[in-house]
């Protein structure tokens, strides 16, 4: 079954719930190598995004995602605001006018979003950032699409790749963001941004994959 504007709404709500549930964990991860506000900021931003979903009945997927992006940009702050804001804004642009997305459509949207995040934050793979969860997820989607996999299967593989990428940030030394100030002391900690990105893709797999 394709992704629809109804399931996109469910995805955003489910992600907000997931962030609220993991707020303390994200704060702890960020306290270790950053400034300890990632969970609080994402929670505030996603609550705002969910508030804004009310009154968007009838909007296409592109408009919905842009609305989420703007809500995050204006309420999260920190680096995560512009980065997650850009992710959703670019995904929204790529899916403008769409009522449904198939695997190719979802892959295209995520690709645009990840490109936007990289352009805004200038992070490369293995810099110990959210990109380390997003890029493997995108690559897994592409590989699944090439093999002609079903959407549900592709989303599951994408979420698993994000989880692998997230865990792979643990031994890395941070080269971007506030954690980079710690140099070698950032080694041994899982990146909070990669963690919140992994949650986003895990929730996508459960919501759009129908296994939630």
């Amino acid at each position: 079954m394709n992704i629809t504007s109804t399931t996109v709404r469910e995805w955003i709500r489910a992600y907000a719930d997931e962030i609220a549930e993991h707020r303390v964990e994200l704060v702890k991860l960020d306290t270790a190598i950053g400034d300890g506000d990632h969970g609080t900021n994402m929670d505030r931003g996603m609550r705002k995004a969910v508030e804004k979903l009310d009154g968007t009945e009838g909007e296409d997927i592109g408009a919905l995602l842009k609305g989420v992006g703007m809500a995050l940009v204006s309420s999260v702050g920190g680096a995560a605001g512009p980065l997650y804001g850009t992710l959703f804004l670019e995904m929204g642009k790529a899916s403008a006018g769409q009522e449904e997305l198939d695997l190719a459509g979802w892959t295209g949207a995520l690709e645009a979003g990840v490109k936007g995040v990289q352009a805004r934050g200038k992070a490369e793979p293995e810099d110990k950032t959210m990109v380390d969860a997003l890029l493997p997820a995108l690559e897994a989607l592409r590989a699944a699409a090439d093999e002609g996999a079903a959407l549900e299967d592709a989303l599951r593989r994408s979420a698993d790749a994000a989880a692998g990428g997230m865990r792979a940030t643990i031994p890395l030394e941070a080269r971007r963001g506030r954690a980079s100030y710690l140099g070698p002391r950032s080694v041994g900690h899982q990146d909070p941004g990669a963690t919140s990105s992994q949650l986003l893709l895990e929730v996508a797999a459960t919501t759009f994959g129908g296994a939630g």
């Binding site: 609080t40 204006s74 702050g77 971007r176």
Partner: protein, 332 residues
């Protein structure tokens, strides 16, 4: 957590309401989104100066809004960058037709949000330039980090650029001056204790009773080195040597020496730090021509200090001495 607050969620708003009540004669506070702006903004024909950053560093930046310094400040949540909509409102509120300078401390969040805001403001026809301060010698400046943090020099740049804007300098000239101040200033900080953000209620890092952190930032993040605690003389030697050798500051140079408290260190200790700094610079033939001592860039209740040295010339000295009238810093 022991704090003089009512509600951890309302800390920023209630502090803004207090500032407005106290300084309403010269400041206007906007609440949706949060912006602190000069009461008489926009000043026609003058370059507008906007800065901003997370809250928890008071008096920076809101306490430095007023004639001779900033036209507006955007306070974020505690230790969290403000958002582009705040910066856009601030920029529009202070644009007197001569353009607006964004003074941005080099933190990933601040830089990204100000970049988005500058794009938005340009889209609305406001001329914007941004200068990023990055004076913290504790951080290796390399392609593989986010670069040096912006700390003490930011306050000095806000004073000096504010004076230049008052003199009628153009946006390009004020921006160039800001880059010059940043280029000639260096800082480093240390902490004796961590701080507790109202949102988390937990110390920002663990530090033993007999330990200190050298090379801290201003957001409660740990420093570059953890060491057994030393005397004021040893601490100043550690910080000032790194600063002096980095620029480098040389014998015969005139400097502005800025001893900044992190929020939880009494002035009596800051003057001991100044004494040691004065001795150290004298030994090296460096002349302290101007000075600033007190809490200007704090990290909530953290105990500790930072030292900033700015190499002066006639232009910078004259602009430093020009009048300023803000809640936290008055000159003339």
């Amino acid at each position: 957590m022991k704090k003089l607050i009512n509600d951890p969620e309302a800390v920023v708003r209630e502090a803004l309401e207090g500032m407005e009540a106290a300084h309403g004669d010269r400041l206007r506070v906007m609440y949706d989104p949060y912006v602190i702006v000069r009461a008489d903004a926009p000043v026609q024909g003058k370059v507008g100066l906007v800065s901003g950053g997370g809250s928890g560093h008071e008096p920076m930046h809101g306490g430095l809004v007023g004639p001779g310094m900033l036209d507006a400040a955007c306070p974020g949540e505690v230790f969290t960058s403000p958002t582009p909509d705040q910066m856009l409102e601030a920029t529009k509120a202070v644009d007197g037709g001569a353009g607006v300078l964004h003074i941005v401390k080099n933190y990933t969040g601040d830089v990204l949000n100000f970049e988005m805001a500058a794009d938005l403001a340009k889209g609305e026809g406001v001329e914007v330039e941004a200068v990023v301060t990055n004076d913290d010698v504790a951080v290796q400046d390399s392609l593989y980090t986010a670069g040096r943090r912006g700390v003490g020099v930011t306050v000095l740049a806000e004073k000096i650029c504010g004076a230049a804007a008052d003199e009628g300098k153009s946006l390009a000239e004020v921006a160039e001056l800001c880059r010059k101040v940043n280029g000639q200033g260096r800082s480093m900080g240390m902490a004796l204790t961590p701080c507790v953000t109202p949102g988390s209620g937990e110390p920002s890092f663990e530090l033993g009773e007999d330990e200190m952190e050298i090379g801290i930032g201003i957001h409660g993040e740990p420093g570059r080195f953890r060491e057994p605690i030393g005397t004021a003389a040893q601490v100043v030697e550690r910080l000032a040597s790194a600063i002096v050798e980095d620029l480098p500051f040389e014998s015969g140079d005139k400097v502005l020496a800025f001893v900044n408290g992190m929020g939880g260190t009494p002035l009596i200790e800051l003057y001991i730090v100044y004494r040691e700094l004065n001795n150290l610079l004298q030994e090296r033939g460096i002349i302290i021509d101007r000075r600033l001592i007190g809490d200007y860039i704090t990290s909530l209740e953290m105990a500790g200090c930072s030292i900033t040295l700015l190499k002066l010339d006639d232009e910078l000295t004259r602009l430093w001495d020009a009048p300023a009238d803000t809640p936290a810093l008055r000159v003339g």
